[in-house]
């Protein structure tokens, strides 16, 4: 019998028509395009791609660390960017700020702009902060100019620190006066006393370390430590037992009024039953009446005779 050769199995792509192959490629390309578009739209840079902007100009005395693309914030909301930094002929710095139109209504005539600069540090980042204006004021028109308060600078900082240095100098002078007023002889005596005191404390500590005296025994003696620990452990047990007992007692006590209330009528019923039994012959012959409790007068026998 001739040997049967098994044919290699072809990839499915070779078994489908050309047009189908084209369609599959198209689907993949479109899918990739959609993903790309989605990513573009969701990115921070392009998320406001289709938003309208208004242009507001800011006026500064010095450029400091403001640069292009610096963020513009209105009441903490990122509302736009600085698109250009220009210097006028009279050496003023004009910032062109593109602000999203949806935040335009926050900008009023009484809005204030401030340059927040971190130019001391490595970050080198600046930000324009604009406050929201009052509703009763008119809107800042597109293309209008707003004065920007400049950021904290070195000169101002020195001016603020200078009084602190002055008061520090005063304090040092006063300290000097106080120290000069101290009597050296008295200080010496005091130091001697301190020395004696320190020696005494050292002796006491040494005695304690050698487990001498009550405190020493309490702190350093092993046996005492063991005893105290054992007492503490026992105390914990005792306390736990006491707690349990107290809880049990409390529970019992809580039940007591109810129990007493139940027993009262029960005893009355029992009393009634006994009394009723005493009236039934022949039971009355077996259960005698308790005459002792019915006597309301003492015996006639003369008292104290």
């Amino acid at each position: 019998m001739p040997e049967r050769r098994s044919l290699p199995r072809t990839h499915y792509i070779h078994r489908i028509s050309y047009s189908t192959q084209e369609r599959i490629v198209g689907i993949f390309v479109l899918l990739a395009l959609f993903i790309l578009l989605g990513l573009l739209l969701s990115s921070g840079k392009t998320k406001n791609l289709f938003e309208d902007y208004v242009t507001i100009y800011g006026e500064l005395q010095s450029v400091q660390a403001v640069n292009k693309d610096a963020e513009v914030v209105i009441s903490g909301l990122p509302a736009g960017t600085v698109t250009s930094v220009d210097i006028t002929d009279d050496n003023k710095v004009i910032l062109t700020m593109k602000i999203l139109k949806k935040y335009h209504n926050l900008l009023r005539e009484d809005s204030e702009a401030k340059l927040s600069s971190f130019n001391f540090a490595v970050v080198q980042k600046s930000m324009i902060e604009i406050t929201t204006g009052s509703n009763d004021k008119a809107l800042l028109k597109d293309g209008s100019t707003i004065a920007i308060n400049e950021a904290f600078n070195i000169k101002e900082m020195i001016a603020k620190i200078e009084p602190i240095f002055v008061s520090l100098e005063d304090s040092i002078k006063k300290m000097n006066n106080v120290l000069s007023a101290i009597d050296h002889d008295k200080l010496e005596v005091t130091l001697d006393n301190m020395n004696v005191l320190t020696t005494d404390i050292r002796n006491i500590t040494q005695h304690m370390a050698e487990a001498k005296g009550l405190m020493g025994s309490m702190i350093y003696e092993k046996e005492m430590e063991t005893n105290v620990k054992s007492i503490a452990v026992n105390m914990v047990d005792v306390t736990n037992n006491l707690r349990t007992t107290t809880l049990l007692i409390n529970k019992q006590i809580e039940d007591m009024p109810e129990l007493v209330n139940k027993i009262g009528p029960l005893l009355k019923e029992a009393d009634k039953t006994i009394k009723a039994s005493q009236r039934i012959w022949p039971l009355s012959t077996a259960i005698g009446e308790n005459n002792e409790s019915s006597d309301t007068l003492t015996s006639p026998s003369p008292a104290n005779d």
Binding site: I280, W281, S293, T296, L297, S301, P302, N304, D305
Partner: protein, 318 residues
């Protein structure tokens, strides 16, 4: 066989019916209001404690009963409570208080004409008169009771008190004491008196005799009966009477022992009057300085409360 079973069954039925018919059931007592029942219960508890010689507790119960009866204006109950309080205070030697309660009871009994309590009132009244040594008055109080020819407990108690009076007057007229002692003995026999009455009779007989041996015999007999009954006032009274007889026989040491034993009993009974009487007797016969000093100390000190006396007495004799 079946006929026999049927006959037996019929027999059982007839027996059951006849038993049911013979079973007599009486109706319940008329139910008293709860307030009266509670007050009566307090009175009963007081009586039980009195019979056990727990006088302070008895007084508490009687006071509660009196308060309860007063709150519902129950005159019979108030009178009963006052009589009981009077007798209990009399038992512990508080004669003034006993007299005060007796007067309250007497006022109600006379006003409300409560005849059931009049005999009881007379017995207590006569006892107080005897304690106050008002013997003629005591005789008059007892007369109505003695004229009755009853064999009840009141008549026996009246004769007992009358015999006490006769013995108290025996220094003048011993035959009268002998006659009343005899009457008392006859009454005990006719009304089947208790062991306590027998012991009291023995004490009366001992008092009548001048013979030491006879006295000792009767007193010993009385003491044995009282001890068997654990009757504290009886034991103390016998010991006191015996000490008197022993003093006459010049046996002061034995008399002192009896008096001290009697004093312990009177102290436990919280009987102030008799405690002081015993202390006086001890002071008269005591030859050793210690007992005399203690007796004088206990007598001279004005104890505000009985507890103070007990506290001081606990160390006596050293």
């Amino acid at each position: 066989m079946q006929h026999l079973i049927s006959k037996t069954r019929n027999g059982f039925v007839i027996l059951a019916i006849s038993l049911l018919c013979t079973a007599c059931v009486s109706g319940p007592d008329e139910k008293q209001p709860e307030a009266i029942e509670a007050a009566n219960n307090a009175l009963s508890s007081g009586v039980i404690n009195y019979s056990k010689n727990k006088h302070e507790l008895a007084i508490t119960y009687f006071r509660n009963a009196l308060r309860d009866f007063r709150s519902i204006d129950h005159q019979y109950g108030i009178a009963s409570s006052c009589l009981n309080l009077s007798k209990t205070h009399l038992s512990i030697g508080n004669i003034e208080v006993a007299d005060a309660y007796l007067k309250q009871a007497q006022h109600i009994i006379e006003q409300e004409n409560i005849k059931q309590l009049s005999d009881h009132l007379r017995i207590i009244k006569s006892s107080i008169a005897i304690e106050n040594n008002l013997l003629i008055q005591a005789k008059k109080i007892l007369e109505p009771l003695l004229q009755k020819d009853n064999s009840n407990a009141f008549t026996l108690a009246a004769i007992q008190n009358r015999t006490r009076i006769a013995h108290a007057e025996s220094s003048d007229n011993k035959s009268d004491a002998a006659q009343w002692t005899n009457t008392f003995e006859q009454k005990i026999k006719s009304s089947s008196g208790s062991q306590i009455h027998q012991a009291r009779l023995a004490r009366f007989k001992a008092n009548l005799s001048d013979d030491n041996e006879i006295q000792n015999k009767y007193l010993s007999e009385a003491l044995n009966i009282y001890r068997a009954q654990a009757n504290r006032p009886g034991i103390a009274a016998t010991l006191q009477e015996w000490s008197v007889a022993l003093i006459k026989q010049n046996q002061t040491e034995t008399a002192k022992d009896k008096l001290q034993r009697a004093l312990y009993i009177r102290q436990s009974l919280q009987d102030r009057k008799n405690s002081l009487a015993i202390l006086n007797s001890l002071a008269e016969i005591s030859s050793d300085g210690m007992t005399r000093a203690w007796t004088e100390k206990l007598q001279s000190k004005h104890f505000k409360e009985w507890d103070e006396f007990v506290a001081a007495f606990n160390q006596f004799p050293e």
